[in-house]
């Protein structure tokens, strides 16, 4: 059975599809009629997003295969005319990717159960960050530390309450005597500073790569 999509409704508002369906309709039509250009366009638009989502949920292992499988499912569904709302192609792709993720997690759980039953000395994959990932994490932490040290103790407390302790905006504003605007500005500035530091570091690294 192919995944189908419906308009998402909240309790009191209807969330409209964020796109103009006409373009998507044409793309689906191209793929359905077997035009190579349509397939290329589909891949161009979604390959990074699908890769991104799968990597985010499942990690980088077998990523190329998973992306490939996802596109196969999408294209086959379109060609078999199973896409009931062609103008909602983005939603359809998302549904297929989510199902791929769920299936992969199920398989992983099943494998672990079976392996655990067989023997106690089964090999377990090392889930630690790779050296590159660890270095990136450390760099991000340094940048965040620099941002947090650059703001006042009170502002730091506000950011900590929000991001670490996950207190709500209302709760923080009330307890720390802040307006909603002040709260939003503080968060936005701190985040912008983090992005700025990241871009500076990246620019410096590119420069060193050029001269080195």
């Amino acid at each position: 059975m192919s995944p189908t999509l419906s308009t998402i409704k909240s309790s009191d508002t209807e969330v409209k599809p964020a796109i103009d369906g006409q373009n998507w309709l044409a793309l689906v039509e191209n793929i359905r009629s077997g035009e190579l250009g349509g397939m290329e366009e589909l891949y161009r638009v979604f390959s990074r997003g699908v890769r991104y989502y799968l990597c985010r949920q499942l990690g980088p292992q077998d990523l190329d295969d998973r992306v490939h499988d996802t596109f196969l499912i999408v294209v086959q569904a379109i060609r078999r005319d199973e896409l009931r709302e062609p103008e909602r192609l983005m939603g359809f792709v998302r549904t297929v990717v989510r199902r791929q993720v769920a299936a992969q997690i199920d398989r992983a759980v099943q494998n672990r159960r079976e392996q655990a039953d067989m023997e106690a000395t089964v090999l377990v994959s090392d889930r630690r960050d790779s050296p590159e990932e660890a270095a990136i994490s450390r760099e991000h932490e340094k940048m965040a530390e620099s941002v947090l040290r650059s703001v006042s103790g009170r502002d730091r407390e506000i950011l900590t309450r929000f991001y670490l302790m996950e207190q709500s905006q209302e709760e923080i504003c009330e307890e720390m005597n802040l307006s909603e605007t002040q709260f939003r500005l503080l968060k936005s500035r701190a985040k912008a500073r983090f992005g700025e530091l990241g871009r500076k570091k990246l620019a410096r690294r590119r420069f060193l790569e050029k001269v080195g």
Partner: protein, 205 residues
């Protein structure tokens, strides 16, 4: 062919999505746009790196909370002279074999479990061995249920703990008073009929 993927997502959406607090009715439109928008993918990566980095760093920059034991010790200095006599009696009780329990192993660590995995800069949830834990899951994307079952297994699949938990204040919480020993764990969430809904990696140092 120029495809219209709609307006770019907003900073507040990236933030809520990164923190697992984006309202459930906005997740689908958010992810649909994300699938087709390179620019917003980059924005989300940056936001996730930021949120994770702030979460890692901010505890280090907070004034250290005194443990109950330290608070008691500090107060002792402010007590009157007769406190010395009380201390002597307490010492005598100790010698007589009456045990005064030592304080618990520090404050409870709240661990928020997310399904994100494998992206640079993001880490699997971590905690310190032996520290009391409060493992929290946001049930926003789950089919609502009065009760769920949480199971903790070692990396070899050997169960360590399990408990039926009811969502409270918008969260599914499992408390472990004595924490966990160091190692890699998986935390599984099942619905009332035993169907596996989620699995989270969890590393105890």
């Amino acid at each position: 062919m120029k495809l219209d993927i709609g307006q770019h997502l907003q900073e507040v959406d990236f933030e809520q999505y990164s923190m697992g607090t984006l309202p459930v009715e906005r997740i689908a439109p958010f992810e649909e746009h994300l699938m087709a928008c390179d620019c917003c993918q980059d924005e989300l990566l940056e936001m996730e790196a930021y949120v994770n980095a702030v979460r890692s760093v901010s505890p280090k920059l907070r004034p250290v909370e005194k443990s109950r034991w330290e608070s008691v010790r500090t107060r002792l200095y402010g007590w009157p002279r007769w406190a010395g006599a009380v201390a002597t009696v307490a010492a005598a009780m100790l010698i007589a074999g009456i045990w005064i329990p030592s304080p618990a192993a520090g404050p409870t660590a709240v661990v928020l479990l997310h399904t994100s995995r494998g992206i640079e800069g993001l880490a699997v949830a971590t905690a310190v061995a032996g520290q009391p834990l409060s493992l929290e899951i946001d049930p926003a994307e789950l089919v609502p249920s009065a009760s769920y079952r949480m199971e903790i297994v070692q990396s070899t699949g050997k169960p360590v703990a399990q408990s039926d938990v009811a969502p409270k204040d918008g969260k599914i919480v499992l408390s472990l008073g004595s924490g966990l020993a160091g190692g890699q764990y998986y935390i599984r969430l099942y619905n009332a009929t035993g169907e596996l809904l989620r699995e989270y990696g969890f590393n105890v140092r």
